[in-house]
């Protein structure tokens, strides 16, 4: 499994796997809705009388606002991750240079 050591190959593979469903002929009409919502459908089928007994105290008013918040979550995480990786790389290079001098 040494191909796992090649980061670029690993990332390309991940992207490839995610592209497959989008171009599968059998999924041409698929909606790609959330699995959480589908589970809601199964609940409605198994327990048609079930009434949720609590509601979210606030809901994003539109799909756009929801996307905004999800993008914000991913952006915050990616920012921190990039900061840590970049800082470490810089420190490693800096200490390498210090040794050379």
């Amino acid at each position: 499994m040494s191909f796992l050591r090649d980061t670029r190959l690993v990332l390309a593979l991940a992207v490839g796997i995610l592209l497959i469903p989008l171009f599968m002929p059998s999924l041409k009409t698929a909606e790609f809705a959330g699995a959480d919502g589908e589970a809601e459908g199964v609940i409605a089928e198994l327990a048609p009388d079930y009434q949720p007994w609590a509601e979210a105290w606030w809901e994003p008013p539109s799909g756009e606002i929801e996307s905004l918040l999800f993008a914000l979550q991913a952006g915050l995480g990616a920012g921190v991750l990039g900061y840590v990786l970049g800082l470490r790389r810089g420190q490693a290079q800096g200490s390498g240079r210090a040794r050379d001098e």
């Binding site: 499994m1 040494s2 796992l4 050591r5 980061t7 690993v10 990332l11 593979l13 991940a14 796997i17 995610l18 497959i20 469903p21 989008l22 599968m24 999924l27 698929a30 909606e31 790609f32 809705a33 959330g34 699995a35 959480d36 589908e38 589970a39 809601e40 199964v42 609940i43 089928e45 198994l46 327990a47 079930y50 949720p52 007994w53 609590a54 509601e55 979210a56 105290w57 606030w58 809901e59 994003p60 929801e66 918040l69 999800f70 993008a71 979550q73 991913a74 915050l76 995480g77 990616a78 920012g79 921190v80 991750l81 840590v84 990786l85 800082l87 470490r88 790389r89 420190q91 490693a92």
Partner: protein
């Protein structure tokens, strides 16, 4: 895997919250102790939390024609152990419940149990076993992250089937249906999560050798 607000009967919601609470407390103590004893590990701790933040925000397409998201819990599990990730996942789930109406406060305990406890502990077992039999770092990280992801969704499916058993075929019948929605969709996404975790780990192990050795990831 997010069970929506109000979608678990009160008794189930309370039971899962009670089951998750001790793990969250132990996790919080562990995080505080890790930071105190190894202040230099704070950056990796932040990176682990950030990775979960990113991955659990990304809903990805799957071969079932529906979308779901990875959990990102594998990285921190491998680096810091399952308890630390329980705490991290709790923060992410709370954030999503309060600001995104994704998941909920009444279902927080159940969602923490699947994403923050079941996933990390399965990942930890896989990680320790594979490293124990001499598997490579990359392969062990890949398997731990992928199986932690998959385990999370299987537990969600089981939680829902316990709450909503099939009138005819019971809990087992309901489990079949919920696993059909969650577990099957998750298989390719779990593989993707495994790959992404390996990619990050490759980068981390290049520039953080000292800390990783201290955390006993690299022997």
């Amino acid at each position: 895997m997010h069970i929506m607000e109000g979608y678990l009967p009160p008794l189930h919601a309370a039971a899962w919250a009670a089951a998750a609470a001790p793990f969250v407390i132990v996790g919080a103590v562990k995080v505080v102790r890790t930071v105190r004893e190894h202040p230099e590990s704070r950056l990796l701790l932040a990176a682990s939390g950030a990775f979960t933040f990113v991955l659990s925000a990304l809903k990805m397409p799957s071969v079932t024609g529906s979308c779901s998201h990875p959990t990102g819990a594998g990285l921190g599990t491998v680096l810091f152990g399952p308890s630390v990730m329980t705490f991290m996942c709790s923060i992410v789930l709370l954030f999503q419940a309060l600001l995104l109406a994704h998941g909920g406060l009444t279902t927080l305990g159940a969602n923490i149990f699947s994403m923050g406890i079941a996933g990390p502990w399965v990942g930890w077992l896989v990680w320790r076993s594979l490293r124990g039999i001499g598997a490579s770092l990359e392969l062990s990280v890949f398997a731990a992250a992928a199986l932690a992801d998959l385990a999370t969704y299987c537990v969600t499916a089981l939680q829902l089937s316990l709450a909503f058993p099939d009138p005819v075929s019971g809990v087992a019948g309901a489990a079949g249906k919920f696993l059909g929605v969650f577990a099957v969709t998750q298989v390719p996404l779990a593989i993707v999560e495994g790959l992404l975790t390996v990619a990050i780990m490759n980068r981390l192990s290049r520039y953080n050798v000292g800390e990783l050795r201290q955390l006993a990831v690299i022997r």
